[in-house]
């Protein structure tokens, strides 16, 4: 116990110096401290979760394969999701015994305890008459011998991965108190080619890297995508007409259009939380300011008006404020303004330059890139306090928040080679890991949790 109570210490001393004295003393009564004594515990523990193959009670073929295989694949995805979160160490499904259907609702705690598991996820896959899957997911706490939660889904066979993500999400949510995030997608820039001539293509994938898809061909450089809150469109920058301009790409139709008719370069696009307006930066005669325009078009509203570079921007979750970056004071720093552009004020005062602010979907923190020699990703509170750096590498840049505000992705550039990769880190700074992408990746942009 680290806690030390002076009053208690006095009490001990008092006791040592003969009891009768005490009543005569004018010393305040040796009343022990008001507070109960402290019990300190560790929260950094990685939980061991057993994830046996989901039971397929009456195996049947589906358009996504046999349900027996699906049971294994779903367990695999759950397992890898939890591992990716950094808070769990999954056991299995490989190497674990098959479970019976009865066990799904009556887990053998002692057995799993013996396997070193603290928690357990069991479930089943059933193929319905309509060809859809019914997936049941049961989460247990082995240490406490109790059920955590249970959950079931009906999905088209092709959507089995989402059911797995939902199951992992439910578990993660229950155990951490955080909102879910596995069942979400990411837009990013896929990079290939030498440093001096990189091909940069818009691409999308699931949060775990699955269902990867290239969207643009690479003939024109694409940069800085942002998924719309409903996943129906993607804002991004393209050089397709030779100049950096922001386009909105419609995922279903594959069509895209410019967000403004202006001939000026536009870049750094961002959605408002309700998806109804777009924030962007535009350079006019070399001077960059932040603008806002309705998704439906109309006249853009200029929000900043300084001789410096005002760029980027990210709405607070309630849509009332915008955090952005400006070098009006001499170098890049983070500023906050009201959504109408009023009340602009600087919030970053740490050493170095601060860039790429992104407001957490939870509202409590702002992620940024700090430039002080190396580029590092960190967070601060919206009032600028509590600055914390989460990464430490040569060049980590452009954080994007998981929909639950607990995990951050960013991209890391290698010195000299210029190779890039998308990385992920838990807000506690734990579990920094590289996402599996088919080619190099940069500019990740996380979308919301799927419905």
């Amino acid at each position: 116990m680290r806690y030390f109570s002076p009053t208690k210490y006095l009490a001990v001393l008092g006791l040592l110096f003969s009891a009768p004295m005490a009543s005569a003393q004018t010393v305040p009564e040796p009343a022990p401290s008001d507070e109960p004594e402290l019990v300190e515990f560790d929260t950094a523990k990685i939980r061991r979760v057993a994830v046996p193959v989901l039971v397929a009670p009456s195996p049947a073929d589906t358009t996504a394969g046999n349900s027996v295989n699906l049971g294994r694949q779903i367990a695999d995805v759950i397992s890898s999701d939890l591992r990716a979160s950094g808070l769990f160490e999954p056991i299995g499904p490989s190497g674990l015994r098959a479970i019976s259907l009865a066990e799904v609702t009556a887990p053998q705690y002692e057995y799993w305890k013996g396997r070193g598991a603290e928690q357990l996820i069991e479930g089943f896959v059933r193929v319905g008459g309509d060809g859809n899957l019914t997936i049941g997911c049961y989460l247990y706490d082995v240490t406490f011998g109790s059920e955590v939660t249970r959950l079931g889904f009906v999905v088209a066979p092709g959507e089995w991965r989402r059911a797995a993500h939902k199951c992992a999400d439910a578990f993660y949510s229950k155990v951490t108190g955080e909102r879910p995030f596995f069942d979400s997608r990411i837009a990013y820039i896929a990079e290939t080619g030498p440093k001096g001539n990189r091909m940069k293509r818009l691409a999308i994938m699931d949060s775990d890297g699955a269902n990867h898809k290239f969207i643009t061909s690479g003939t024109a450089s694409a940069l800085t995508p942002r998924y719309s809150p409903n996943y129906r469109s993607i804002l991004y920058l393209s050089y397709s007409d030779g100049n950096p301009r922001i386009y909105v790409y419609d995922v279903a139709s594959g069509r895209q259009q410019l967000i403004t008719a202006s001939k000026n370069p536009t870049f750094a696009p961002r959605w408002s939380p309700d998806g109804q307006s777009i924030l962007y930066s535009m350079a006019v005669a070399g001077n960059t300011d932040v603008y806002k325009i309705a998704v439906t078009g109309g006249a853009p509203v200029r929000l900043t008006n300084t001789p410096g570079i005002d760029v980027g921007g990210s709405f607070s979750p309630d849509g009332r404020q915008i955090v952005f970056e400006s070098d009006r004071g001499g170098n890049q720093q983070i500023y906050i303004m009201n959504a109408d552009g009023s009340n602009q004020r600087r919030i970053s005062f740490g050493g170095g330059r601060f860039a790429t602010p992104e407001w957490s979907p939870r509202g409590d923190l702002i992620a940024f890139t700090r430039i002080a020699g190396d580029f590092r990703v960190g967070t601060m509170r919206p009032d600028g306090s509590g600055e914390r750096l989460l990464t430490n590498s040569w060049q980590d840049e452009a954080p994007t928040w998981a929909p639950n505000g607990r995990v951050i992705q960013f991209f890391r550039t290698e010195k000299n080679s210029g190779k890039t990769g998308i990385w992920q880190v838990d807000l506690t700074g734990a579990n920094e890991r590289k996402l599996p992408t088919p080619v190099d990746g940069s500019d990740p942009a996380w979308g919301p949790v799927l419905p």
């Binding site: 070399g286 760029v311 430039i371 452009a398």
Partner: protein, 175 residues
């Protein structure tokens, strides 16, 4: 032909070309800049293959004639220093010779900046060059700008030397 604006031989070549084609040149500058990068510009300045036959008013003519096709900037800066002024003056002179030629000024930043900011910074640099050229009498309508931010480095290293070469504004004639 690979354009190496800072090599000594090239400076001499430029001098000769300039005397031949232009009545007067702006002050030549000998900048103490890092050695040239390997590889060529992505600009369209090697199409003549050094055949010696330079079409007046062409991109090759331009790069042979002017003291340099590019100016360089300090970290995070976009001011036009006296050396840059000299370079731009030589460009303006050439442009005065060929009033029908239009140009694009490309603004670039080194890799040690964040992506969006560097796009803005490149835009600033390109415009700084444009403004200076127009102050020398070049019709701004002839000058386009484009920023590539940190997307198109000229020198590939991750060191001061390379970065110094990458913080640049490059003038390219539109043919």
């Amino acid at each position: 032909m690979i354009i190496r604006p800072n090599s000594k031989t090239h400076a001499i070549g430029l001098l000769l070309a300039a005397t031949a084609l232009v009545t007067a040149c702006g002050p030549k500058k000998l900048k103490d800049l890092p050695p040239p990068a390997q590889g060529s510009d992505y600009g369209d300045n090697s199409q003549n293959g050094g055949a010696g036959q330079v079409l007046p008013g062409s991109q090759e003519d331009f790069v042979r004639t002017v003291s340099a096709d590019r100016i360089f900037f300090d970290t995070d800066r976009f001011n036009i220093d006296p050396e840059d002024q000299a370079t731009l003056q030589s460009q303006a002179q050439w442009l005065g010779q060929y009033p029908n030629v239009r140009i694009t000024v490309e603004g670039h930043a080194d890799e040690r900046g964040t992506r969006d900011y560097n796009l803005a910074l490149g835009e600033r640099r390109a415009n700084a060059a444009k403004n200076f050229l127009s102050s020398l009498g070049i019709n701004p309508a002839r000058i386009q700008t484009v920023s590539y931010g940190k997307e198109r480095p000229q020198a590939m290293g991750s060191n001061e030397q390379s970065w110094a070469q990458n913080r640049r504004a490059v003038t390219i004639t539109i043919q």
